[in-house]
Structure formats: structure tokens, C-alpha cells
């Protein structure tokens, strides 16, 4: 998906500016979609203005690649989480989260998985301030579960925890 987050042109009421600018964020979940999105958006910016007798200029800046969990890694996370917390303590995410992470570079090269640990402060009922909020809080009581998850992942991987 592409979001035009900033549009800007002009300085005052009686001057037609020479140029208008836009800043766009593009989020995608595979390298294939990523390429199509980038070339599609860049083509539109370069070519629509031409149809109006204008010029379009475009600068593409690459961010992090999509974070793709390997099946074996995700299964190991599920097994460790269910072992620690029971079935109710593990949630299979129906959809990806549209944020991004540079752990993706490691998952491009090695097997494994990225997972989330719930840290909703008590009483927030799903409405807690999200990450990157100036009010973001972590329920510290969840941290031992994070610590134990790291250990459970290691034991599940290395010594066939039963």
C-alpha cells in the first residue's frame, strides 16, 4: 500500500510556484510486490505530469526488506510459547503487522522467526498507547515471560526439550 503523507507547494497567495512536492511511504509484504509498487509509483510520478506538460522527478529510498518468518522457526516459537504458557498464551497472527524491522536482514540469511510479546499495561484493554507513542508503557510483569521464551527457544532448538 502507498500513502501520500505530505503534499506541498507554494509560499503565498499570488505566486504560482515552480514545483510541487510529495512524500510517499510504500509498504509491502514480499519482494515481488515491493518491486511492482516501487516501479508503479515511480512511473506514475514521472509520467502523469508529462501528460500535463510538466516534468516529474522521483527519488526512491529503500527501507528495510519485509520480515519473513521461516516455517520451522515460527513452529518452534509456537511450541515454546505453548509449552510455557499453554495454548491460550500463544496467538497465531492472522495477518502481518505493517511496521518494519531490520531483523529482516538476518531472516533473509538464516532460518528463524520474529515474534511479539504482549505487554499491555493492566486495565488498558487493547487501547494502550502503541509503540512510538510518547505515552507508550510496558507492563514489566510480562518481562519474565520474554526471558523464559528466549530460554525455551534455545532449549527447544538445541536439546529437544520435552
Amino acid at each position: 500500500m502507498a500513502t501520500v503523507g505530505r503534499i506541498q507547494a507554494g509560499t503565498t497567495n499570488n505566486v504560482i510556484p515552480e514545483a510541487a512536492e510529495l512524500d510517499i511511504t510504500m509498504r509491502s509484504l514480499s519482494e515481488d510486490t515491493r518491486e511492482r509498487l516501487a516501479s508503479g509509483v515511480c512511473n506514475l510520478i514521472e509520467q502523469i505530469p508529462v501528460a500535463h506538460g510538466l516534468q516529474g522527478e522521483v527519488k526512491l529510498k529503500r527501507g528495510y526488506p519485509p520480515t519473513i518468518n521461516h516455517a520451522a522457526g515460527a513452529e518452534l516459537v509456537a511450541k515454546a510459547a505453548q509449552g510455557l504458557l499453554g495454548t491460550e498464551g500463544y496467538r497465531l497472527m492472522p495477518n502481518p503487522d505493517m511496521a518494519s524491522e531490520d531483523f529482516s536482514y538476518l531472516l533473509q540469511r538464516y532460518n528463524g522467526a520474529f515474534a511479539f510479546l504482549g505487554v499491555a499495561p493492566p486495565g488498558t484493554d487493547g487501547k494502550a498507547a502503541p509503540c512510538h507513542s510518547n505515552h507508550m508503557l510496558v507492563d514489566e510483569d510480562a518481562m519474565p515471560i520474554g526471558v523464559a521464551m528466549h530460554a525455551a527457544i534455545v532449549f527447544s532448538s538445541l536439546s529437544g526439550l520435552t
Binding site: T3, I48, H52, Q55, V119, A151
Partner: protein, 249 residues
Amino acid sequence: MYEQLLTEAQALQSQTVALRREIHREPELGLDLPKTRAKVLDGLSGLGLEINQSQATTGLVAILRGARPGPNILLRGDMDALPMSEDTGLPFASQTPGHMHACGHDAHTSMLASAAHLLSKHKEDIRGNVLFMFQPGEEGYGGAKIMLDEGLIEAGGKPDSVFALHVAPELPSGIIACRTGPILAAVDTVHGRIVGRGGTARCRITLQIPYPSHVKWCRRYKHWSPDNSAYLSQLWRQLVEYRLARPTM
């Protein structure tokens, strides 16, 4: 065994919380986090881990060698904060104006350090090695890529698998959530510039105003998805129609 891990993690809680709050109080940005690294090194001291420090960043990989040979498992915690002010009112809130741990990396780092403590006690039971990767510069600096490219990740042995946990305030406390396949997106940005010929607003006929295509673009493609394969041809048709309908543009 699982129950024992939880009990042991619980027993480490006071040090997990203490390290998290120390890091939270002094957030650092980007790839150069000397204070955070010092806290991590201090937190790992006495465990007898091999420590490989990044030259390009303040990251490090601490290695726990198990009693017997086996695979290498990498666990990652990121360490950097965000360039924003904190308004939580916490007693251990950021003391650096304009810096805040608002993405939980303080918790990631302290949980990973406590995991190193927990696993070190089980060294005799470990068949293989655990690589604890403490990484700066996750927030847009590509710290993980830099540590990979400088060879730090494989310096103590190539990882057979890699894992990372990220806190999620929208999920109930203590829940683990995961999935196979894509879990997070790629994010790329485009800066576009539409150039015409500017001038005074009294003689529009001689100017090339950069707005019409611009506004049109945003109105139509504000939330554009490439998954509709017919989209580009449809767009082209719309454009031609637009031109025909306004031959004086």
C-alpha cells in the same frame, strides 16, 4: 522444564527490571550507544561469555558455549531509542529531552541480558552455542545489516537459526504472537517533485502550474495497491480521457 524456566526467569525479575529502567532513563539514538553498551556489558559481567564487539557500531555479540557441540542459536535484542520526548510521567522516565525508549528496546535488551543469565546456569545442559546479539540502530539505521556486513554475526560461528522478540502494547500482557511467512512489511519511501514554470498569478496562461496533475495524483492514488494488475492500463486510459476532456491544459 518449561515451568522451571518461568520460575528462574521470575527469580531474575528484579535485575531485569533494574536494567530496563536504567536503559530507559538514559536513551541513546542510532548506532552509537556507549552508555547503553556499558550497561549491557556490566549486566553480562561475571557470566564468562565470549564477547565480540562491533567496530562499526556499539553493538556486540556475546557467546555462551554449551557443554557439548551442537547448533548455534542467535537471539537478538535491539538497544536504541527514538528521537521524541517522553510524556509517561514514570519515575524512571527519560532524562534526555528529545530521546525516548518508546519502542520497548529497553525491555528487549534487559530481557536478553537476563536470558543470558538464565541460560548460563544451564550451560551443562546446552548442546550447542547461544549467540546473544545486542544491536543498536534498529530505528532506521540498519544496525543489523551493518553487524552482518562486518562479519560480527558469524565471528563466533554461523547461526543455524535466529530469533527476536518485540514487545506489543496492544496485545494482552504475557501473550506470544507469531506467524509463518511475512510478519512485518518492507517500507520504502518516495520523494516526488512535479516541476512546471512558476510566476505571478495574473498571467496563468503562460505558466505551467504544477498543481493539477499533483492534486489529481493524490486524490486518486492516496491508497493505491499494485495488486490490481489492470491498474496501470486503467490509469493510462483515465489519463488519456483527462487530456481529451481538457485540451487547453
